[in-house]
């Protein structure tokens, strides 16, 4: 298991805890109960404390996300340019609401605060790739392309 190796490479210092959680999430998409326990053992930090750190940071997921994670930017620029409309249109198209994953584990919809591409607002990111200057038409085209590929 690659993430075990990564863990092993890390110094057992709490300052590496967040990095460890990030690398687990990079590999598996989320932090499962099992991995939480592994990490807790490795750093000798009680599981509740690890859970406390996980819940503090928006990045960490405790449930398995879909194949494609759609992050709708709701930073100031995107909000002004209609981020909530974008979010609604995605919900209507895919049948999932903010924070949800569809029944086929294909799409997860989440809201994030600013992807740093504000000059192209409104933007979304799908698995990290950013799409800018969205309108309803271009958005639906992108979503349908992903649906088809899946």
């Amino acid at each position: 298991m690659p993430e075990k190796m990564l863990l092993k490479e890390m110094e057992k210092d709490q300052s590496n805890l967040i990095r460890a959680l990030q690398s687990v999430q990079e590999n598996e998409g989320f932090v499962s109960d099992e991995r939480l326990k592994d990490i807790s053992n490795y750093f000798s930090i009680p599981p509740v404390e690890v859970e406390g750190v996980i819940s503090f940071y928006a990045q960490f997921k405790r449930t398995k996300p879909g194949k494609y994670i759609i992050s709708v930017c709701d930073g100031t620029a995107c909000h002004i340019k209609g981020a909530n409309l974008i979010s609604n249109w995605i919900s209507d198209e895919l049948g999932i609401k903010d924070g949800e994953t569809d029944s086929e584990d294909l799409f997860t919809l989440e809201t994030v605060a600013c992807l740093g591409c504000c000059s192209l607002a409104p933007v979304i990111a799908i698995n990290g790739k950013v799409y800018g200057n969205l309108e309803r038409k271009s958005l639906l085209k992108i979503l349908r392309k992903f649906k088809k590929e899946a």
Binding site: R19, I80, C117, L120
Partner: protein, 570 residues
């Protein structure tokens, strides 16, 4: 003759399709060097290509991965050349961003051959206290929002006797609507690193951490490559000491931009702020004296060292020296990253650089969730720390969002409170519960259920939250509300008394209407309505309609619109 071709593949470029352009060009061009560069700041025109010729550079905008475009560029044709809008070239003053988008970000050699690391070389010939003195003379103030004098902060750390002193670069860029720091790290990572290494010499620091928000993968990648070169060429060997350098990725918490919260986060804990004193420069990361500066602050340092503090201080106003980067976005024509001299007016930025139309702009929002709105009537205000504060806004880190006449200010205030209420770490009761109460009140108002007392309540509670919070998050959270009430009380009053939203933005106060006179009955609206709220004879059932705007977007005749109305009953 074409010397080489540069493609801007910063995050903004990529979002506009620069990757596809790069792939297409590299497949089809064989004998000309093709380089990826960062962002020149003209994000409205992405993807951008710069053709370096023996007679200077030619820029092309909105480039597409197509044969015609390729030929156009190779023949240096006139069409599709970048049209720099308004008076931008005259008004901008490129100092910190001079190299951004012009050099290969990750090429140590290219940075070096453009005076890179000259500032560090000069600093190393000076005593640490002389370097601190130069920064003091320059008048540089922190660009992360607070505006604390950088030289003074450095002198605090320099005075500490601890063996281990820590430098942290605050690259968390939490303001949702700002991207100056991202752009700098992506485009000129070496410049940011040079600033930090100069700081390490000046303060005697032994470790450097760069705390980058996780949403910035390209910034992290470019910084990593720069650091590898720094280690390879031993640039981190300073006066016989080897400086430890490490990148730490944030994990998505706005409050971690605050200094003491960031230190907790670096230690692997929940990122809640600590009591001050002790200040970080006395006792910070793992108990060691720690100094935190913002990315843009560090990026200014090499320039100060290169040209000397006195010359640097010539630009700007009495209390605000140098230039400031702004991330321009919102309702304007030319959005992007701009660098302007301190003292320029907001109006010059918005109209002359941003190309916004006079009369169509209501306000700018500056300083993000900690800042406020400045109405168009006050656009003659100069950009400097003190003038902006006197208007109830702040300089902030550089997010500048232009708000058009068609936006609701109450909704804007609600948006920011929704953000701060969610991001409050929960440690202080006033911040945790206070922001939630403010948010609920604002939601009531935008839903048409507010009353006049709500407005006084917001002001009163806002005051208490400011007083009762430990860190800057709570202390500034009410600002967007207070400032919109200050300048746009009439909008609040219309929401609570007449149940109307001037901007027709608040869903609960509008209906959707099809103008049957001009309707051609094409049926697109009916087909695209996700909840079948439009009847066969083209009448919107407003009790069903979710105000999703799908019909408005697809109507080829623009006959569908939002009108003042009864709104959604929730």
């Amino acid at each position: 003759m074409i010397k080489r071709i540069k493609i801007g593949t910063g995050s903004c470029g990529v979002a506009a399709g620069a990757d596809e352009v790069f792939d297409f060009f590299s497949e089809n061009i064989k004998d000309i060097e093709l380089v990826e560069v960062g962002c020149i700041g003209h994000c409205y025109a992405e993807p951008i290509i710069e053709v370096e010729t023996d007679k200077g550079s030619i820029f092309y905008e909105k480039v597409e991965p197509k044969k015609e475009f390729l030929e156009k560029i190779l023949n240096l044709e006139n069409s599709s050349r970048l049209q720099v809008g308004g008076n931008r070239t005259k008004k901008e003053f490129l100092k910190v961003t001079e190299l951004a988008g012009k050099i290969d970000p990750v090429s140590y050699d290219e940075y070096k051959s453009n005076s890179g690391y000259n500032g560090l070389a000069k600093a190393l010939l000076m005593k640490p206290e002389e370097v601190v003195e130069q920064v003091k003379i320059s008048g540089l103030r922190g660009r992360g929002g607070g505006g604390f004098p950088t030289g003074l902060k450095w002198s605090f750390l320099a005075a500490q006797k601890d063996e281990e002193k820590v430098l942290i670069c605050n690259a968390d860029e939490g303001d949702p609507g700002a991207f100056m720091d991202r752009s700098m790290m992506e485009s000129v990572p070496h410049q940011v690193m040079e600033g930090m290494l100069i700081a390490a010499h000046a303060t005697g620091a032994s470790s450097i951490f760069i705390y980058v928000r996780a949403e910035y993968p390209l910034a992290i990648k470019n910084l990593k490559i720069a650091i590898e070169d720094i280690i390879k060429y031993k640039i981190n060997h300073i006066n016989g000491r080897k400086i430890f350098i490490k990148i730490k990725e944030g994990a998505g918490a706005f409050v971690c931009g605050e200094e003491t919260a960031m230190i907790n986060s670096l230690e692997g804990k929940r990122g809640t702020p600590r009591f001050r004193p002790p200040f970080p420069t006395d006792k910070g990361y793992k108990g060691h004296p720690t100094l935190i500066n913002n990315v843009e602050t560090f990026a200014n340092i090499p320039i100060i060292l290169r040209e000397g503090g006195t010359k640097y201080a010539k630009l700007g106003t009495k209390n605000s020296k140098g230039t400031k980067l702004f991330a321009l976005a919102g309702d304007l024509k030319y959005s992007g990253l701009v660098e302007v001299p301190m003292g320029i007016t907001i109006g010059e930025i918005v109209y002359e650089i941003g190309g916004a139309v006079k009369g169509e702009v209501k306000a700018v929002q500056i300083g993000g969730p900690s800042g406020g709105c400045i109405p168009a009537e006050h656009f003659d205000t100069p950009v400097d720390y003190d003038s902006l504060t006197s208007l109830g806004a702040i300089m902030g880190s550089g997010g500048l969002i232009v708000i058009g006449n068609n936006r609701c200010m109450v909704e804007t205030a609600r948006y920011f409170l929704d953000f701060t209420a969610r991001e409050s770490c929960g440690k202080c009761t006033f911040c945790r519960i206070g922001t939630t109460r403010m948010l609920e009140t604002l939601e009531r108002i935008t839903a048409g259920d507010g009353c006049e007392e709500d407005i006084t309540f917001l002001q009163d509670l806002g005051d208490k939250i400011k007083k009762g919070s430990l860190c800057g998050l709570g202390q500034t959270a009410p600002n967007p509300v207070i400032s919109t009430i200050r300048y746009y009380k009439d909008e609040y009053l219309r929401h609570v008394n007449e149940k109307q939203c001037n901007a027709l933005e608040c869903n609960a106060l509008v209906d959707v209407f099809i103008d049957k006179e001009n309707c051609i009955e094409c049926g697109l609206c009916i087909k695209n309505c996700p909840i079948d709220a439009i009847s066969d004879d083209f009448i919107v059932d407003n009790s069903k309609c979710t105000r999703c705007n799908s019909c408005i977007e697809v109507c080829p005749k623009n006959t569908i619109s939002r009108i003042p109305g009864g709104g959604i009953s929730e």
